[in-house]
C-alpha cells in the first residue's frame, strides 16, 4: 500500500513497505511548510489539522479496515486529554504534577483502555447499531465529565495545560508543535499502513468482508475486533494528548456530540478507504472552519460543512481520495491512445 489510490494500490505489490513518490512528495511538502507559512497557518491550520487527522485516522482504521464505524474515538482522545490535565499540571491546581514522560504513556493507555472497553460493548453489533452504541458511550463520557467535579472539574474543565519544554525546546511554540504533530501523525500513518498488510490487519479486513468465513478459518472474530479497538485507541490517545497541548485546555465541550460527529465528517469527507483520507479530510475541515467565519459567518459554518459533506458523499462515496482516484483514472484513459 503505497499510493493514494487504495483500489489500484492493493494488489500491485502487496508485500512492499517503501512509500510511493507521491507519499514522499507529500512528506517533503509538509516538512518545508513552516518555512513558507505564517505562525497562524503553521499552528492554527497545520498543527490543528494534523491533530484532528490523527484522531480521524483512529476512526479510519476501525471503519475502513474493520467495517466498524465508532463515534466514540473522539471520546477516547478526549479522555486521554483529560488524563494529561489531571495527571500533569493545570491552572485549577488539582493536577498531580507528574512529569510528561509518565503522564503521556498513562494518558495514551487510558485512551486505549477506554477504546478497548467501547470495543467490548460494540463488537457484537454492526452498521447503524455500532454507531448508536458508540454514540451512547461518547454521550455518557460527555455527561460524566460535565457533572463530575471531583475528577473532571465539571462544566469548566481544565485550562493552563501546556506542552512541556524538552531538550530546551518549548513544544508549545508553533513551529516545534507543528513538527511534533507531524512526527506523531507520520508515525501513526506508517503504523496503520504497515499493520494493514500484517496478518492482524489482513484478518481485520477479511472479517470486514465476511466474518462468518473467518470463524470457519479458525479466527476468533470478536477478539480480533476488540484488539482493533485497542490499536485504534492508542492512536486516538496520542491524538488526544496533542489536542489538549494544542488547545491548552479541555472541557466537556471538547468531547461533545458535535465534536464526535466532526471526526466522522473528517474521515468520510477525506475518504475512509485509505489512511491518507483522514489527513486530507482534516485539512479540508480546518480550512473551512477557519475561513468560513469570514465568508458565511460563524453561525453558518455547520450549514456549510453539512452541505459540502453532502456534495462529497453524493458525488464521491470514497471522499476526496475517491475524487483523486477518479481524476487519475480518467487521465490515464486519455493518455492511453498516445502510447
Amino acid at each position: 500500500m503505497s499510493t493514494l489510490d487504495p483500489a489500484a494500490a492493493a494488489p500491485a505489490r502487496p508485500w512492499s513497505i517503501a512509500g510511493s513518490p507521491l507519499t514522499w512528495a507529500a512528506l517533503a511538502l509538509l516538512l518545508v511548510y513552516p518555512f513558507v507559512a505564517s505562525p497562524f497557518f503553521i499552528y492554527q491550520v497545520g498543527g490543528y489539522a494534523l491533530v484532528l487527522g490523527i484522531i480521524a485516522l483512529s476512526l479510519m482504521f476501525l471503519a475502513g479496515y474493520g467495517g466498524m464505524v465508532s463515534l466514540s474515538q473522539m471520546s477516547a482522545a478526549g479522555l486521554a486529554g483529560y488524563m494529561v490535565a489531571i495527571l500533569g499540571s493545570n491552572s485549577v491546581g488539582t493536577g498531580f504534577d507528574w512529569p510528561w514522560w509518565v503522564v503521556v504513556p498513562m494518558a495514551v493507555l487510558v485512551g486505549a483502555l477506554f477504546s478497548t472497553g467501547t470495543g467490548l460493548l460494540a463488537v457484537r453489533t454492526a452498521g447503524i447499531y455500532t454507531i448508536m452504541i458508540t454514540l451512547a458511550i461518547g454521550m455518557a463520557l460527555f455527561l460524566l465529565t460535565q457533572q463530575n467535579y471531583a475528577i473532571f472539574n465539571g462544566h469548566s474543565g481544565f485550562a493552563g495545560i501546556a506542552a512541556p519544554v524538552v531538550l530546551g525546546v518549548d513544544w508549545h511554540q508553533p513551529v516545534p508543535f507543528y513538527y511534533l504533530a507531524l512526527f506523531v501523525a507520520a508515525a501513526c500513518y506508517a503504523a496503520v499502513l504497515y499493520v494493514a498488510r500484517a496478518p492482524f490487519g489482513l484478518a481485520l479486513q477479511a472479517i470486514r468482508d465476511n466474518p462468518r468465513r473467518m470463524h470457519a478459518l479458525g479466527f476468533h472474530v470478536l477478539a480480533h475486533r476488540v484488539a482493533a479497538y485497542a490499536f485504534a485507541g492508542v492512536i486516538a490517545g496520542l491524538g488526544g494528548v496533542l489536542l489538549v497541548w494544542f488547545n491548552g485546555r479541555i472541557s466537556p465541550g471538547t468531547i461533545g456530540v458535535d465534536r464526535m460527529i466532526d471526526i466522522l465528517v473528517i474521515a468520510i469527507v477525506g475518504g475512509i478507504r485509505h489512511p491518507a483520507g483522514a489527513f486530507l479530510g482534516a485539512i479540508f475541515f480546518v480550512i473551512l472552519e477557519t475561513f468560513a467565519i469570514d465568508i458565511v459567518g460563524a453561525e453558518r459554518f455547520n450549514t456549510m460543512i453539512g452541505m459540502l459533506f453532502l456534495v462529497v458523499v453524493v458525488f464521491s462515496p470514497d471522499g476526496l481520495l475517491g475524487l483523486w482516484g477518479k481524476a487519475r483514472r480518467s487521465l490515464q484513459r486519455q493518455e492511453l491512445p498516445n502510447n
Partner: protein
C-alpha cells in the same frame, strides 16, 4: 457400520466424526431428527438428498454455525458439541460453502495466507511476514494445488465464478486439515472445471477425510467411498456408491424413479 470401510490408507479404525442422535428444530419445523452417523478418519463420504433434506443444516451443526437441539458430536474422539466454531477449526475441521463465502477486497494470496494463519498462534501478529515466510510458502503450494497460482495477486471480487469455487477449496485445504466438509463444490462449474474438481478431490492426501454434498451424482459417486442418503431431515440409507445407486427406494425419492 458393520461392513468394512474401503479406505486407501491410514485406516486405524479411529472415527473422525461421530454424530449421535443429532437434531435441530426451527420452531415447529424439525430440520434434522435423530441423525446418527460415523465417518472414519481418512474416509470419503457423500451425503445425498433432495433440497430441504437437511444436508447443509447438518454441516452448519458440525462446524458450530448452528447450535444443536439434541444429540452430540465427537471429532476424533473429542466431544465438540459445545465448542465455538474457531475451536473446531483449530482441531482440523474445515468446510466450504455452497455459495462462496470469500473476502471480496482481499487478493487471492492474502486470503489463502490468512486461511493458513488462522490455525496458528501468529494470527494476531502485527509483524508482516518476510518473503521466505513458511506460511507464505504454504499458501503458494495450496494455490498451486487448486490451480490458482496464476491469479495470486488478483482481487477476489475480480475472479470468475469458477475461480472463486477453486478459492473456496483452497481456504478449506489450508492449515493442515484432518477432515473437510464440501458443500456442493461443483455448483455452477463447467464440465471442464468439474473434471478439475474431481482431480483435486481424488489427489487429496489419504489421511484427509471428507464429507461431500453434491447433486451431481457422477461426481459424488466417483469421489466417495460410502454414501449416506438423507430425506426430510433423517438418514434414509447408507452404503457403497453401487448399493445406493441401485437401491429402488433411493431411486424413487432422489432420482425420480427413472434415472440411469
Amino acid at each position: 457400520m458393520a461392513e468394512p470401510v474401503r479406505t486407501t490408507l491410514g485406516d486405524t479404525g479411529a472415527y473422525a466424526l461421530e454424530l449421535a442422535g443429532v437434531g435441530r428444530r426451527f420452531g415447529a419445523l424439525a430440520a434434522l431428527s435423530d441423525v446418527t452417523m460415523s465417518v472414519r478418519a481418512g474416509e470419503r463420504r457423500a451425503v445425498l438428498g433432495s433440497n430441504g433434506a437437511g444436508k447443509t443444516t447438518l454441516f452448519n451443526m458440525i462446524t458450530g454455525d448452528i447450535a444443536l437441539s439434541a444429540g452430540s458430536i465427537r471429532f476424533f474422539g473429542e466431544d465438540i458439541t459445545r465448542f465455538p466454531t474457531y475451536e473446531r477449526i483449530r482441531r482440523g475441521l474445515r468446510r466450504t460453502y455452497q455459495i462462496s463465502q470469500l473476502f471480496g477486497r482481499l487478493s487471492v494470496r492474502d486470503s489463502v495466507f490468512l486461511a493458513c494463519r488462522g490455525v496458528s498462534r501468529r494470527r494476531f501478529s502485527f509483524v508482516r511476514p518476510r518473503p521466505d515466510d513458511a506460511t507464505l510458502e504454504q499458501a503458494g503450494r495450496i494455490m498451486s494445488a487448486v490451480r490458482l497460482e496464476g491469479r495470486a495477486e488478483a482481487l477476489v471480487a475480480e475472479l470468475s465464478h469458477g475461480e472463486q469455487r477453486q478459492l473456496e477449496l483452497a481456504l478449506a485445504l489450508a492449515g493442515a486439515p484432518r477432515f473437510i466438509l464440501f458443500d456442493e463444490p461443483a455448483a455452477g462449474l463447467s464440465p471442464h472445471e468439474r473434471r478439475e474438481l474431481v482431480g483435486i478431490l481424488t489427489a487429496l492426501p489419504a489421511h484427509i477425510g471428507y464429507i461431500i454434498i453434491e447433486h451431481d451424482l457422477d461426481i459424488a459417486l466417483r469421489v466417495a467411498q460410502r454414501v449416506t442418503m438423507m430425506h426430510n431431515g433423517r438418514i434414509l440409507k447408507e452404503g457403497t456408491p453401487e448399493e445406493i445407486e441401485s437401491d429402488p427406494e433411493v431411486q424413487e425419492i432422489y432420482l425420480g424413479g427413472g434415472h440411469g
